[in-house]
């Protein structure tokens, strides 16, 4: 299993990292909050923690802490456009339900 990244997500992530001028990769994670239990975290990574695991796909390092990995294993990260809006999208096989807005989920 692990984490996979689409071409467009990899390309965007690379651009954003270059723009920022610092950072080793992207952190994916979950935190317990939100209207439906768990919320996704997507951040730049400057420093790794001890329990972090690194997955590399299409040249992008995806960093996940051990606890979050349980909820995210098998997730596919994509970058899409919806009208004028654009951003990253998680396709997570572990998620059983999402709240209406999709910002949080449960397993």
């Amino acid at each position: 299993m692990g984490i996979s990244v689409s071409d467009s997500a990899a390309q965007r992530a690379r651009t954003f990292l270059e723009n920022r001028g610092a950072g080793i990769g992207l952190r994916l994670g979950v935190k317990t909050t939100g209207c439906s239990g768990l919320a996704y975290v997507l951040e730049f990574v400057d420093e790794m923690n001890e329990d972090d695991q690194v997955f590399e796909d299409k040249g992008i390092k995806v960093i996940i802490d051990g606890k979050s990995l349980v909820y995210l294993d098998g997730t596919h990260l994509d970058f899409t456009k919806e009208g004028l809006n654009e951003g990253f999208q998680f396709t997570n096989p572990n998620a059983n339900g999402e709240c209406g807005c999709g910002e949080s989920f449960n397993v």
């Binding site: 909050t33 730049f44 951003g87 998680f90 910002e103």
Partner: protein, 620 residues
């Protein structure tokens, strides 16, 4: 499934609480909106990919149309198509009519400008709000949620009332204004100069119709505007105009042109200008009204010769701005280029030669101001870990209130960083005084008549007390946008009054410079005037209290001669106080003091007797 952006480490927002903020460049000709997403700052396009929104509003009976569509109506329906409304913000109708006598708009008869359009009456704030609404809507549909706030840029020379107008427009458009930011400062931020070396920065802004030069000083994270200058009627449009003249000259098209042909030539001129930005020759061909075809060849050398006088004018303004800031070219650390017309390589080269440094041009000059504003908005909304910088501005002139004798008492000195709140205590001048007028003034001079009057209000309901017994706390509060709020409170009762300053007319930047200069040149004279006024106020105070005492106790405590002597002394003092010899007034006060000494002693004795009478020693 929501679309996510990459956050800074540890800054991921809780769902539905993303702190979306944008920067808005509300320009005279064009406006833009920008935001920071996944660490990258970009301007936001509309649904057909246009980033730039022309600042034009066309009113129809159905409502308002903004942007490119509105611009097309400008020639057909000029009275209902309002462009460059930014020039009217915070100005009075008289000011506007004097400055722009040929406007096609119907102003109603009132002091604040109201324009009659087909759908009713609109003021500049409402027109600006229409533009901002479109940008807000664009931002919200792009970011997929409501905005937490916006940073809106204003020219550095905008005064309080123009800034307030901008803020009102934003509020009317439903935007929460995090801060107003000076345009040159925004441009400097876009280039990251705020976190770089401290020093002097010049911002050269050559837009479509206006030219602005600003000299900023960055120290300890604060940008201070040292001087500004420019020409409100010089820009890229003038480049086009000289090219059109040249084309006409080459093709011998004399006399009046048809509207269509004029438009064709203008478009050709713009095209040639763009071509000549990266090639050395532009070939133009067109048909005139008689279907006769023409070919014109313009070389880059020729183009440069044509625009050279215009560019020279901008450099003259740069020289003046440097002089105003009392700096030389060597003091300039960086030059930032803003505005579409700085794309012309000749402009960059001339500016570079003038300042003897290569100007910063890597960010799109049309977007650089909006980008800087967005970076600032992102920080103010709280999306950065340790609030990297909280950009501060400074007050250009001291703020104070008028005290007795027409003196200006400074509450906040100039060059204080804002936001700031400062309080000072004042008291009453007369016995039983129940009201106090607070006159807010701006400027460096000692006398109120030489400062600029900003506002007046009256604090009423002060309980009657002896002169000098009341404690009135006057608080000056200047928010981050440079807007002033003054409140006065009598401490024993808590009665208070306040005012927000929206001056009815504005100060030009050179006026600020003039006011500063005047305060230096007149320092000695002002000091003398202050000391004279102080003596005059003291004389009036002595006269006031002594007269009150005489009225109360003279009959009982003084002989007719004694009373006569004091009264003569008082009359003399009154005469002296009308003159301008402060030493004489001082002597007069001392003389009256001596004359009334006996009287004062007897009054003291009398009041002690009154206090003690009827009481035994034990009781005391």
């Amino acid at each position: 499934m929501a679309l996510l952006q990459i956050a800074e480490p540890g800054q991921s927002a809780v769902p539905h609480q993303r702190k979306l903020a944008v920067g808005i460049d509300l320009g005279t000709t064009n406006s833009l909106v920008a935001t920071v997403r996944s660490g990258a700052t970009t301007t936001l396009p509309d649904d057909i990919g246009q980033h730039i929104l022309p600042s034009v509003v066309h009113y129809t009976s159905q409502g308002a149309v903004v942007g490119e569509e509105a611009k097309k109506q400008a020639s057909q329906d000029p009275a209902n198509t309002i462009s460059s409304v930014k020039r009217f913000l915070g100005r009075s109708t008289t000011d506007i009519k004097a400055k722009y006598p040929n406007l096609p708009y119907q102003f109603t008869e009132s002091d604040s400008p109201v324009m009659q359009v087909v759908s009713g009456e609109v003021n500049p704030v409402q027109v600006s709000a229409e533009i901002l609404k479109v940008l807000k809507l664009r931002a919200e549909s792009t970011l997929g949620d409501e905005l937490k706030g916006a940073v809106v840029t204003v020219p550095a020379y905008f005064d309080d009332s123009q800034r307030q107008g901008t803020k009102d427009a934003a509020t009317l458009a439903g935007l929460n204004v995090l801060r107003l930011l000076n345009e040159p400062t925004a441009a400097a931020i876009a280039y990251g100069l705020d976190s770089g070396q401290e020093g002097i920065i010049a911002v050269y802004d050559l837009g479509g119709g206006t030219f602005d030069i600003s000299i900023l000083r960055l120290s300890k994270g604060v940008f201070e505007v040292l001087s500004t200058g420019g020409d409100s009627a010089l820009g890229g449009d003038d480049f086009d105009a000289v090219l059109v003249d040249y084309i006409r000259q080459q093709t011998q098209l004399t006399g009046d042109l048809s509207k269509n042909l004029h438009r064709t030539l203008l478009d050709l001129a713009k095209e040639a200008k763009e071509t000549l930005s990266h090639e050395s020759v532009a070939n133009l061909s067109f048909e005139d009204d008689n279907k006769q075809s023409h070919k014109v060849l313009i070389t880059i050398n020729h183009f440069e010769k044509l625009i050279a006088p215009l560019v020279k004018n901008t450099l003259r303004a740069c020289r003046r701005a440097l002089k105003d800031a009392e700096l030389s070219k060597q003091d300039i650390l960086e030059v930032v280029m803003v505005g579409g017309s700085t794309r012309v390589p000749y402009v960059c080269q001339q500016v570079g030669e003038f300042f003897e440094t290569s100007p910063l041009t890597s960010i799109d000059p049309d977007k650089v101001v909006a980008i800087g504003a967005a970076i600032q908005a992102d920080i103010l909304a709280g999306n950065k870990p340790d609030s990297d910088m909280l950009l501060l501005d400074v007050l250009p002139l001291s703020l104070g209130i008028e005290t007795m004798g027409g003196l200006s008492e400074k509450v906040i000195p100039r060059n204080t960083t804002i936001p700031i709140a400062k309080a000072q205590e004042f008291t009453t001048f007369k016995d039983g005084q129940t009201a106090m007028m607070v006159h807010v003034v701006q400027g460096e001079r000692e006398l109120v008549q030489d400062c600029r009057s900003l506002a007046k209000f009256t604090l009423r309901g002060i309980p009657p007390m002896a002169a000098g017994a009341a404690h009135i706390r006057v608080t000056f509060q200047v928010d981050a946008d440079g807007l002033l709020n003054v409140s006065a409170m009598e401490k024993s009762t808590g009665v208070q009054a306040q005012i927000q300053v929206k001056p009815s007319y504005g100060l030009e930047d050179h006026q600020i410079a003039d006011m500063l200069k005047a305060s230096m040149q007149n320092a000695e004279q002002d000091m003398q005037a202050r000391m004279l006024k102080e003596q005059q106020v003291e004389a009036a105070r002595v006269h006031e209290t002594l007269q009150a005492a005489l009225n109360a106790d003279a009959a009982a405590l003084l002989s007719a001669d004694e009373k006569q002597a004091i009264e003569t002394g008082l009359t003399e003092l009154q005469e002296l106080a009308k003159g301008s010899d402060k030493e004489a007034i001082k002597a007069g006060i001392e003389k009256v003091d001596k004359l009334s000494q006996v009287f004062a002693e007897r009054r003291m004795d009398q009041s002690i007797r009154k206090a003690f009478s009827g009481q035994s020693v034990e009781q005391i």
